[in-house]
Each structure stands twice: as C-alpha cells, then as structure tokens.
Amino acid sequence: MHPWIGAGSEDRQDLLHELGLETIDQLFARLPESVCIDHLDLPPAQDEISLRRAFFDLGLNTTTAAREPSFFGAGVYNHIRPAAVDAVLSRAEFFTSYTPYQPEISQGTLQALFEFQTLMTRLTCMEVSNASLYDGATAVVEAVLFAFRVLRLKRPRVVIADTVHPIYRSVLDTYADPTGLEIVTVPAGPDGRLDIEALEAAITDDTCCVAVQSPNFLGVVEDLPVVAQAAHRVGALAVHVVTEALSMALLRAGGHFAFDVVCGEAQSFGVAPGYGGPHLGFFTCKEKTIRQMPGRLCGETVDSEGNRAFCLTLSTREQHIRRAKATSNICTNQGLMALAATVWLEAIGGSGLRRLAEDNLSRAHDLARRLVDEDTGWRLAFPDSPFFNEFLIQGPIGGTEIARKAAEAGILAGIPVARWSTRWPDGLLIAVTEQNSSADLDALIETLRVAS
C-alpha cells in the first residue's frame, strides 16, 4: 500500500472482515453504476527520486529573480526572506493544523494572529485588523462591500482612482456585477497623481466609498489627507489601498488621516512571490465598524482559571453561523501567510523595518537619479511627483520592447504597463528593493543605454 495511506493490504482485509464484508466494492454499493469507473486514467505513482528530478527539470524552464536581477514589482515585491521565517513556518504545529476553532489546543496560532493584528494596526494607525484575507485584490473588494454595508446598503456608488492596481479594479468589476454597485473611475493628472478636481466632481451623495492607492500603481505617493476630506464631506468612507506594505514604515498610512479602511496586500512581509500566490490580504478599520468587518478575528480573553488566553471572536459575522446573511462568503483566511508576516515583521524589528524602508528609498532614488544624470536616454514619467521604491520611466523605445531586450540580456528590467495603461502606453514600471545590489543597478542602466 502507498506510504501516504495508513492501512496496509493485510490491515485492509482485517478491517473488511470486521465489517463483515468481502470486498471494498461493497462499501461503494450505494453509488449508481452509471457514475462509477473502475480505475483512473492517470500514470502510476512516482517515487521521490523521480518526483524531485521531474520538478527540478520543470524549474529549469523558468527564469526568476533568484537567477537574474529583477526590478519587477506592481503589487508583488522581491524582499528578503530570512531562513528563520521559513523554519518557523515549516513547524508542523503551525502548518498542519486547522483553523483555531478549538482554542484550548490552538493558543500558538491564536497568539500569533493576535500579534499579527497588533502589528498591522500599528503600521496602518488603525484600531482593528482582521486575521487576513486572500490577497490585495479581494481586500479591496471586501473594503467596498464593507463600506456599502456600513452605510446600510443605501449608497451604490463607488469612486475609485484609476491608479489603483488595474488587476484589483478588474476583480472589483467581477464582484460588483451581481451586487448592482456602480463603479466610477477617476483619472490621474499628468503628474501621475489623482486629479483632485475630478475626484470631487465624481463624489456624490450616493457614494459609499472613495478608494485610492498610495503609493499608487505608477509608484506615485498620493495626497491622502485631501482624499479623506473629499470622501467625508458627503459621509462616504475613505479607503486607503496599499500594495507595497513596506511603504507604511516610511509613509503615513491612511489611519493618520482619518481614513475608515486601510487594506491591501502584505506579500512584502516575508511571503514568496510564488507566481501570484498564496499572498496575504490585510484589512484594518475603526472599532466602531468592527461588526461589519469581513474575515476572522482573534480576541483576548481568559480561561476558567483566570489566565490570559485567546480565541476567535465575533464569528457570528461569518458564514458558518449567519449563512446567507454573512458579511462575506469567505471561509478561509491566509493563516500561514499571516504567520509569515508576523515572524518577518518581528524579526526585522521596529528599528530594522524603518531602516529597510530607508534602504529601499535610497536605492530607488539613486537609480532614478542616475537614469537621468547619466544620459541613458530614459526619463522619469513623473519627475516632480514623490515616490518610494517604484517609478515609471519612458524612453526612446516602448516599455514592452525594452523589457524584451533586457530579458535577452539577462535582466528582468521591469513591467511594461502597455497592457493596462492607455495614458502612458510606452512606460516601464521599475521597483527597487534591498535585493537589488548596486551592481544590479549598474547592469540595468547599462542595458537601458545599450538597448536604446
């Protein structure tokens, strides 16, 4: 019998005998014959040696940031992932356990979640954080539906900046379709920042939320206080979307400016890019709206002996109790990814987190300056707009073409925005992290110069 099956062939006979059966088929007698098959048309079991070889070989067909310098960002960032984080995650007590519905034997997971919630509220300057959501895109959807609920389902208009990640916006469209929400997109100005006049014109009395990303999809830091004021003027909720969570170590998050929700993607905190997942959605809000918040929540309490303990709380919001009236149909969070972020953020430490953000800022701004100063033929698309570790460049050839040429030279130069943006179709989006050494920066500059 296969090693991943607990009963051997002799066991099977004994167990069947105990049930008074002759064959295993008798256990499946209730299945109508017309739906049954006698075997699966799949290859035989592969042993570990051939499994390792086969997948190693598949990996050879893949070029990643692990092998070549990469300046890819756009919502997925290549940050340091210390071995200690992986070691913690690979403890079976964490990764082979279920959702902590039995708190007496889940205090490890629960305390880690409580620490995660605390870390996220400190970063965002908000009062409450849930225990994670699927990813940044679904976090934005949840934020919009949350705002709709908080305002008692009476305001169907959603105002969103078109510099919110285009994939997030397309996901929002999918969800908005059946709910009857009206999505209004506000364009960026020529400086890559949200056009505030257009924003104010778009906000009406039936607007439930105003969502803006900062730093935005083009890397530009938005004027958050003005956005919050514009939203609150009509009583709408202000939502700050974050895709590069590390930016919150340097830039004040929405909580500092009275935003009602700060949410997005925290993959930067120790979660692998992994070709898109699993990643880590986060959601923070104010205490007064906690009952409308989606997702799991861990709370502090005591046990029968009066000792501090933790448990999931406010679960009446969730599907297994409220069924058709749940705040969301979500059943899973990203527990292990939330743990990764917790370990990562604590490992980096409060001082280290700030230093890391400053390091990214220095690398990105050094690269940006050199692109201009060293006569590469490339320029910043928004030279006067503030940015953190990501920016859009334009040059003598289009972003798609330069990306292709750079790839031939062994550099993942950045992401051409042509597939989404009609405003800056020739742009190349470049993210710089602590993984990019100054040799990488030299190589990119050289490639850009030669290729054009």
Binding site: S315, T316, I321, K325
Partner: protein
C-alpha cells in the same frame, strides 16, 4: 421558568407591556435561555418606523444570531441604550432591565397570549 403575570406574550417568545400610547417589548426568560449568553444587541434607531413581522434588530450570542421581529407596526420611540454596554441585561433581567424597544402603537389586532396560555405553549414546546 418565571412568567410574570402582568405581561402579554407572543408565540415567538417576546413579551409586551402597554405604556400609554406605546408598547414596550422584550424577550422572555425562555427565549434568552435558548439563545445563550447575549454578547451584542443591535436595536432599531429611535424615530424610525418598523413593520410588523419585519426584522428590526438582532440579538447575538457567541454561536448564534437571532433576528428581532417587530410584533407590531409603528414608530420606535425608545430603545434600551443600556444594552449597548451591558447586553447581558437581556439574560440577567429579561422582563425588566433587559427590555428592548418601545414602539408607538397599540396591541389591538396582535395575536397575544395571556400568561397561562404562554405557560402552556412552553410546556408544549419542551415536549
């Protein structure tokens, strides 16, 4: 289980008491016992109109949510604000301090039970 003699009851385990031109509403001892320890009460907004038979709020325990259905139509004139901080009043004192709302209107036309009939209903439900 206690059933005060000065109240009237609904088949869905609420009690009502006439106060002038309004009706005070709460849930019975039996209802709170079924629900378990109440951790949150969502009450209707004072000044809003409610429709008989429609949801006007919710009572939450750790494991269950129960809808509060308005037993009559009318304007909400008062809601028990003490429940905001002390939802446990619903458990401790369901017939008194744990009252829920006061609705302007009369009990005329409502399908109500006197204490004896309500006691009989409970008897029947438990068997």
């Amino acid at each position: 289980m206690s059933i005060p003699q000065d109240l009237l009851y609904t088949k869905s385990h609420e009690w009502v008491r006439v106060e002038g031109d309004s009706v005070v509403i709460g849930i019975t001892h039996y209802a709170q016992d079924q629900l378990g320890e109440v951790v949150f009460v969502e009450l209707p907004v004072v000044g809003n109109a409610v429709e008989a038979g429609e949801e006007m709020g919710t009572l939450e325990s750790v494991k269950a949510v129960s809808e509060m259905l308005a037993p009559l139509s009318g304007e909400v004139v008062e809601a028990n604000e003490a429940l905001e901080d002390s939802p446990d009043l619903v458990n401790q004192s369901p017939f008194d301090e744990g009252w829920l709302v006061k609705i302007k209107g009369s009990i005329e036309g409502m399908d109500l039970l006197d204490p004896q009939s309500y006691a009989a209903l409970l008897e029947a439900e438990q068997h």
